[in-house]
Structures are given as structure tokens and as C-alpha cells.
Symmetry: C2
């Protein structure tokens, strides 16, 4: 399934070589081509949750600027059509970047012309504020979409938090992810405005057993015991909203929690290897639990320090599991001579009140790692189920 | 030449799979593997200038915080050793992330463990302010390293401009580029502090005839007529500093100009296709000059509109050519509902007084595209020649 934009729009000429820009047509040693890959848009669940985590992310939160419910519905319809097209490697709208009238603005901004689908997924979510009454949705708000509580040591910046809507774009080529977000923002001009956005340059989680565990900016493997897309029973138990969990429109959906976690990497880098490993609860080289040698060795949390991250975050401690899908970020510097870098934590869970919230409460209170972290952005979104052909994102909510 | 960090440090275990994180071991359709590729560090010129432009960039400008010349020299020596190692896919120092003492801070921050060299290049430059007298270098300042003049419509942010030193890290994996900058910053703790840094997610220039021309965030192919690494006569004429051009220590070096150019993409996206093409001077689909059909057709600048970008930037207009090596960026949003996105323009030239400055003057004054641009960061650096084994970056300046 490698429909490229250039094939669809008949571009020719020496400049349209197979390489596109950059890693566009890279082929993994396994023969798997991460650029050409196309992830189906339609299905019972939205893509971008259990999809094997792509390499790059562009995440955006929007404020809705209209109070007209019909306009909001039209936006979701238009976005769905554009998402169907862009995830298939096509331009955002028909008559895309160059095919429309010369005297019209192009219907697509063009920077992804010639690039393959790159496993692009687009995942939409609805924030608690969307249910505040402006759109007649107050009585459809799921109880699980309760505002997150204040956590100990939170230092949240409102300009990096909240939002009425979100779109998570993940792809193996960042140009494809940025293009998708930009074109959705453009389609939404006059209806939504960008509240905040975050670029993630490298995935920090595996969501498939076929993926190697990547490293976060503390230099440690992250997400070894993540729920994987192959663990369908665990997904049903911990990720997907089930019938009876709340309003029917969320069945097959999931709750997304995003946290912008600045890492004080300069301080971390001055702590000893043994201290780092004690804080994490794993060895730095192999990623094995302390005392073991294999990354995937079973974790005996009772053998780990009480305040170690892995112990506190474990299902044994909180009874909760999450599907983590975060990304490393670097956003320039902070004016104090340090890089502004860290983890853009994203997780999906069936009910944050029983999963993310107790886990984060335990971490915020006791995790030795907190000394090196600053949570400065936070948001929660209800991601509706997937759409069938002809439907639109959130149709069950507005129907 | 694919020496990976994990091989050198004997990491084992199931988690150290061949894939590393993300596009680590991607192989181009041509059989070329952009992750495994290793660019030689040593040579008559620094790497990262004519090296075929890698996909991603992390650029950092430092202020020197010591006034001790010997400390500065020691830093450049330490940086050179670390750069030799990291560009070879090794950790920043011996006894890297996990091989030192348990009670010592690791010598490498670890997030690139297991990742191949990814064509990493590190290129150092010296800003005009380094020659202000603190280090006894005032009489060694090249006349060509004159502060850039104010250009019409400049709106420069001092926090995104200038710097005593710069390091440009380019790689096909952003995690590798970020790791390199972070470890150099760490090595420099107490001697330098980060003044500003910029992540570029996608290259906007080709610097080799083997590369397809990428697109900028206006959706146009950028850099079709760039100087290519194969054009050795043009490189000698326009890029490399020659004997007699100025102080001998810069022979074989080049001057780097960086400009952070915010693009008003929302406004651009509302202009018609014909207006966009008229402003650029090329067609959007193929990238061909207006009136032609092939991207690489000769450009007859007299046939283009007087205020078109390609005409004004042409060698016919200004007599100047540059080696461009810029990157697309997206840095969140601007608080006004718009993405903060654009082009991090980087060019290399033999004498900016005769090349970049007249070209930018012409563009700033007359280019129709300026309505959609805001230059908000600017810096100039003298990049010394390459180093031989045992030498250090800038040895000729300090020797």
C-alpha cells in the first residue's frame, strides 16, 4: 500500500526522484519500509493508539472559536475527509497543492508532495472544556473525562495545557506529520485556533513486540513493560472503553493524557551511574531490572528501592497499567544556559480516574526521579472510537 | 563503516535489537543506508558543509563564560576528541554511558546507545564576539567576520541571535544529533553556556546531485540551483576561504550565516497558486522556472517578475552564490493561534561581505516574499578548516 502523492497528482520531471526528502524511502533491514507504510484510517478504534509507535510526532491542541455547533460538526466532517486522504499519502483535499484553479489558494500546502504515507496516523480527542455547554454537550460528558487533579510538584503552564480538541499526528517522517497538522489547522481557520503544539523528535515507547525499546533523554530504555499491540486482552482491560463504562459514544475509544515533562538533564548528568540506576530501578546499559541481566527479565518490585520509578509505576504498586506512547522533545534553550528538553508523555487508558491519576499521584509523591523532572504542561482528551467509511470523527457524540 | 555504540561497549541482551530507535537502521532503496553511514571527521575542510545534507539538524550557539584562554583551548580540545568519537558512532568519551565507575557520573548521557552513526557531522564556528579581546584574539579577527548589517524588515530577537561559538549537528536520526549537542554542552559546563539552540526537522536543501530537492514550508522545492558537493570549482570560488583572503588560520574554512526565518504560513496559504508561483518564480508542482517544465531547466531571470525571489537571489542579480544548507522548523505555537514555523536558513560562503550581505540586502528590499517572512534570529560564524588526527578545532587560531 504505497500510494504516493506524486503518483496521484501526476507530477513528473527529474526533480521528483524516488528519494523525496530525507528518509522518505528508507527500507528497514527487515525489508520493512517505514516510509512507504500506510496505516488504515478506518476501523473500530482510531489509529495512532496501538499502531506500532512511529518515529516522530506533532501534537496540537485547539481552542474552538465558534459557538455554532453546526460549524464544529462541519469541521469534524472536513477533518475526517482530510485525514482519510493524508493518511493514504494524498493531499489534504482534492485539487490539492497544484491541481486547483490558478486564481485560487491551493487546497493543500504542498510541503509533503512526493513524500510517501510514512505510516501517518491522525488521532482526535475531545477535551473536558468542549463539554462546558457551548455546544449542548454538557450531558454527554463522560464521568471519566474529569479534569485531572493537581499533582504534587506540578508547575503547569496554562499556555501548554488543556484544549477543546487535540490531534496527535505520528509518522516516520516529521515533514509528513507537520504537514498534516498544518493542513488541519488551515481547514479549521475561523473555527478553531492553535492553543499549543509540541514536536516530538524521537519515540520513547514501543507499542509492538517487533520494536526495540528506545531510550529517553535520561539515557535509559523506556517502556520495556509497556502494553503492546499484541496483548489484546490487556488492551481490552486497560485501554479501550467498554460498553457500560460511560456514555455509549465512547465505546471503543480511549482517554489520552499528555504531560510535557521537562527533564533537568544537566543535574541528572551529574549524578552517578549507580544513583541513576537506583532511581530508575533498571540498569542503564541493558535496561534489565536491577539484579537481572536481561531487559525483559520479570521485575520483582519488592527487590527494588521503595522510591524507584519502576517500582512506583508498576501495576503491583498501583493496580494500574497504561499504554504509553511518548516522545523525546528539545525546544531550544531556557534563557539560563540550558537546553529545554524532556519527555512529552502520552498515554492511553480506559479510565484515567483508575489508571493515570493514581499512578501519577504515587509518582509525584514518592518517585526519586521527581527531583529531576518538572511537569509543565498537562491535558486530557476523550478519543472517540474509530470511524467507518462515510462517518466522521465523534459522530456518535454529535449524532 | 558502521561501528555502532553497542558493539564498542559490549551491550548485550534481547533489548539491543538491530532496530535501535526508529529509523536507525533504515536502508534506502538505492541500497544506501542513511543510518549506518559514517562521515569521516578528519579532512582539509570540516564535515557538515559539503556533506550531502542529512535529514535532521540540531544547531546551538554558546556564550563563553570563562575569560581564561587556556580553558577555552582545553574545551576545544575536549570537544574535538568527543566529536571524533561521536561521529564514529561511539560515546562522547571513553568509559561512556555505562563503562565508568559506578560511583561516577557516566561520561556519556546514553540516549544514543545502540544507535549507528547516522551520518552525524559536527561543525564548529567562531562568532565575532569571540574576538572582542577577552581571549587575546582581537588582532586575529578576519575582516570577513564583520557583524552583519541591519537588513530592512529585520526583527531580530537577541535571545535567538549571536553567540561566541556555534556547533551545527546534522544527522539522519535526530536523537543522534541532539545527543551530540547535549554531550558537547555537558563537556563545556562551566566554560560555555547555551545561548540559543534550534532543532530542524527536515532539510530544505540538497548539497549533492544524488539528492532530490526537498520542499520548504511554503510547499515549494528549495535549493534547486544550490551549489552541490560535486561542483568543486564553484566550491573553491564561493565557499572555501583561500590563501590571501584573510588571516591564514581561516584558509580552508568557510563563513556560516544562520537566519531564523519565521514564515507566515497562514497568510501564504490564503494566496492564490498563481500569486505564490509569481512570488517564487517557479511552479509549485515540478519546481520548474516559470514558463519551463523541468525543475532543472536553465533560469532566464529576465523572464521572471522583477520582485520574484528566484530572480532577486540569482547570481545574475547579485553576482553572488551561496551553499545553502537550511532546515524546516516548527517550534510550537505563537500564542495567537498560529504555528511558529519556518526556515532555519544556514549558508556557507567564502566572504559574506561579497555574498550573503548583498544578496540579503536585495531580498530584504525588493523580494515580494518578504511580506510572508520575519527574520527573527541571526548569527555569523567563522568555521575554521578541518582538523587532522591529533589537532583540535581552531588550532590555527590559538596556536
Amino acid at each position: 500500500m504505497t500510494v504516493s502523492r506524486r503518483k496521484l497528482f501526476g507530477l513528473t520531471g527529474a526533480g521528483v526522484a524516488i528519494a523525496g526528502a530525507g528518509a522518505g524511502v528508507a527500507v528497514h533491514e527487515s525489508g520493512h519500509d517505514p516510509a512507504a507504510e500506510q496505516v488504515p484510517f478506518h476501523g473500530p478504534n482510531q489509529a495512532g493508539i496501538t499502531t506500532p509507535a512511529q518515529d516522530r510526532m506533532h501534537f496540537v491542541a485547539f481552542d474552538v472559536t465558534t459557538s455554532d455547533r453546526a460549524e464544529l460538526v462541519r469541521l469534524l466532517q472536513d477533518w475526517t475527509r482530510a485525514a482519510e486522504r493524508m493518511t493514504a499519502g494524498q493531499e489534504a483535499v482534492e485539487h490539492g497543492a497544484t491541481g486547483g484553479g490558478e486564481q485560487e489558494p491551493p487546497g493543500d500546502t504542498g510541503e509533503a508532495l512526493g513524500l510517501p504515507p510514512s505510516a501517518l496516523t491522525l488521532t482526535v480527542g475531545f477535551g473536558p472544556s468542549l463539554f462546558d455547554g457551548r455546544f449542548g454537550l454538557a450531558d454527554r460528558r463522560p464521568p471519566a473525562l474529569a479534569e485531572l487533579p493537581h499533582f504534587s510538584q506540578d508547575n503547569l503552564d496554562p499556555a501548554r495545557s488543556g484544549g477543546d480538541l487535540c490531534v496527535q499526528a505520528c509518522a516516520n517522517d516529521p515533514q509528513v506529520a507537520v504537514h498534516a497538522i498544518r493542513n488541519l489547522a488551515r481547514i479549521g481557520f475561523g473555527t478553531v485556533s492553535v492553543r499549543w503544539s509540541q514536536l516530538g523528535f524521537g519515540r520513547t515507547s514501543s507499542t509492538s513486540r517487533e520494536q526495540a525499546t528506545p531510550r529517553n533523554l535520561f539515557g535509559f530504555k523506556d517502556g520495556t513493560n509497556n502494553i503492546k499491540s499484541e496483548d489484546t486482552a490487556a488492551l481490552d482491560e486497560h485501554v479501550w472503553v467498554r460498553p457500560g463504562d460511560g456514555p455509549e459514544w465512547m465505546t471503543g475509544g480511549s482517554y489520552l493524557v499528555a504531560r510535557r515533562i521537562r527533564m533537568h538533564i544537566e543535574t541528572w548528568d551529574r549524578s552517578s551511574l549507580s544513583e541513576q540506576e537506583r532511581i530508575v530501578g533498571r540498569t542503564k546499559g541493558s535496561g534489565a531490572p536491577l539484579g537481572a541481566t536481561d531487559e525483559f527479565a520479570p521485575v520483582d518490585v519488592r527487590a527494588l528501592p521503595d522510591d524507584s520509578h519502576v517500582r512506583l509505576a508498576s501495576a503491583e504498586n498501583t493496580g494500574a497499567r497504561l499504554l504509553r506512547r511518548g516522545y523525546n522533545f528539545t525546544d531550544g534553550s531556557d534563557g539560563l544556559g540550558r537546553l529545554d528538553a524532556g519527555l512529552f508523555f502520552v498515554c492511553f487508558n480506559r479510565d484515567p480516574r483508575r489508571q493515570f491519576v493514581p499512578m501519577q499521584r504515587a509518582l509525584a509523591r514518592d518517585d526519586a526521579m521527581m527531583e529531576y523532572l518538572e511537569h509543565n504542561g498537562s491535558a486530557l482528551f476523550a478519543c472517540p472510537p474509530g470511524v467507518r467509511p462515510g462517518e466522521f470523527w465523534g459522530q456518535g457524540l454529535f449524532g
